[in-house]
Point group: C2
Chain length 418, copies 2
Amino acid sequence: MALRDELVAMGARAREASRRLARLPSAAKDAALLAMADGLEAARTELQETNRRDLAAAVEAGLSRAMIDRLTLSDGVIAAMAAGLREVAALPDPVGEVVRMWKRPNGLVVGRKRVPLGVIAMVYESRPNVTADAGGLCLKAGNAVILRGGREAIHSSLAIAAVLDRAGREAGIPEGAIQVVETTDRAAVLELLQLDRYIDLIIPRGGEGLIRFVTENSRIPVIQHFKGVCHVFVDASADLERAEAIVMNAKVQRPGVCNALETLLVHRDAADAFLPRVAAALAGAGVEIRGCPETRARVPAATAATDADWDAEYLDLVLAVRVVDSLDDALAHIDAHGSLHTESIVTADYANAQRFLDEVDASCVMVNASTRFNDGQQLGLGAEIGIATTKLHSYGPMGIEDLTTTKFIVYGQGQIRE
Amino acid sequence: MALRDELVAMGARAREASRRLARLPSAAKDAALLAMADGLEAARTELQETNRRDLAAAVEAGLSRAMIDRLTLSDGVIAAMAAGLREVAALPDPVGEVVRMWKRPNGLVVGRKRVPLGVIAMVYESRPNVTADAGGLCLKAGNAVILRGGREAIHSSLAIAAVLDRAGREAGIPEGAIQVVETTDRAAVLELLQLDRYIDLIIPRGGEGLIRFVTENSRIPVIQHFKGVCHVFVDASADLERAEAIVMNAKVQRPGVCNALETLLVHRDAADAFLPRVAAALAGAGVEIRGCPETRARVPAATAATDADWDAEYLDLVLAVRVVDSLDDALAHIDAHGSLHTESIVTADYANAQRFLDEVDASCVMVNASTRFNDGQQLGLGAEIGIATTKLHSYGPMGIEDLTTTKFIVYGQGQIRE
């Protein structure tokens, strides 16, 4: 079958499944999620056997150690997928919730009721576990999902999807609820992006190149997650011990993720006391500092930051540091160089805390907390499907509720319009 | 200046204005809206003089009477624009509202706070009053707006925007908050749709052709409003007097709009009693009936419906009528032919009312009420900017809140992630 026909058939199956999923009781969805978790654990040996094919190809292709790590379905990764599905089963079902209801002067009772989005397509790169994580979240929110994972993990992804499909169908989930595209080249993505008749939302997960490619070629709405150039601003009034703990946590606890700290801004009045101590702590953790002249005057080991450093997402043990004259200057720097992802101020000043929260445009703005908390689980949404840095539909971490929309419902008693 | 450069400059001005608009106090926005309303009334004579240029061109081009009506800035239309701006001023400001706030086990206090979307572009057809209506709503929600109206109304739109701009700036609204694109060919729309650096959302208002053109060519998220093929289902248990009043209101009160009734479904058990009486009432109002064979057996004056009638948006005094065997058949018909717009059941049966509300996928689902109520004003949202029949971000009538998004705010006390 030609690629386009194959994808159209998948789209039609997904659309049909989505109509049935929308009406499925919570108990049926939760039972299916638990059966899927059990199924993954029971299939561990066969999943790992299949995974070895992807790993062998990866070694042969000379992929990096980090890439191969991400591909590997270790015991721990399989256990985490199963635990993730069980967590999603335990979340409240968003579908059917009436988020607000009010009465009109003519007696009409009007409400907004949560319903699934319909069909969601995930386009992602190497991690095969996304197959289970995204599949479970979409199912719980009553959506069908089409998964198009990376070439490197394709055998593993297909094997995981087969386990989910088998377990789900035995528990009453309709055929087509969770499907994986077998063709892994970009042509398949391009075709997928044209299927606006069948797909309601595209969520790309991966590098900036993938996300731009999807955005530029899609006829279907795309939730975008671009890079995270996250800042911590240490205000003049900051408690320096607290500031140091937050900076270290934000930079070092897991430097390779999007909510890690990339640029530290320090108020001039705190610079003499704060920069030498935080530089020592950072050096102890192996962090390279690239500083402005004011920073280098206080931290001799720092190299000189270039213009590019203020826009860099290092995802590594590197930190850009700049001394600023005021809160206004910090806000202007973030406005110019931030990526609408995560921004944090460390301060003891009430007015500055409020101004920072009000005026910074980012998906998550914090006072006296590590940027690492911008995460669906950490903020209390349960599992997340991604962090949106665009504003339409969702802005920030997307939990299960963000995979739904609301329709208007109206209870009348024969009203007609004058 | 080349078209692209001109639009990029407009985009940059709008982006800059949007940063300032986001921080503007409610009182400043409301004062500006009231000044704009006064300004429009004060400029009535000059607006009507300019409008005559558009009207003369329309007559020369042989436009229909209805088109010319829509173009005309009568005293009534100008008064309605001013009243609309005053109504928007009286609405609560959505910006800054914290829609929910909760505490995490580690003490972090997390909230979701409403913020403007940023820059909105409206692409619309002939009515020049959209310039004021959309401009006012976008301003109140803290957004900058770029308006690209139809060629036929361009002089009127530019004149209205000039009045708004002058009144707004005197009241402290930044330059670039409300701008009108002077170039009215499709090339300008195409260029606008590429400006994803500057524009956050595109809202097209007009015929299906325009909306498809925008959707297929946009890199920016689009809120779509396709046609309204709205149904009323008269159930076996319906109060027939109530059913007749609802059908007549939905079909006849204003047939040329998207929430007007297009197909009537009647339960077989109600058909003998209901069809002859409603047919008489419809005939009295000049409505042509196109019926299924079962309908024609009961309404001799009805012509035969073809397959195309079940998908038609007549926007005229024509009604398709079909007899169905059950609620299930009515649901299946709506599933196959509905347009996700507005669907209503007339019933006295509790279980059927609940099933209809649950199972029908449409932006607004009603029990015992006229489809004509699917409108932002009627449902209590205040003025509306359109009705979305796609599900992302908004589904149904879009009020002022739908022109905002929420960002996460976090109040910490030094928390770091384990």
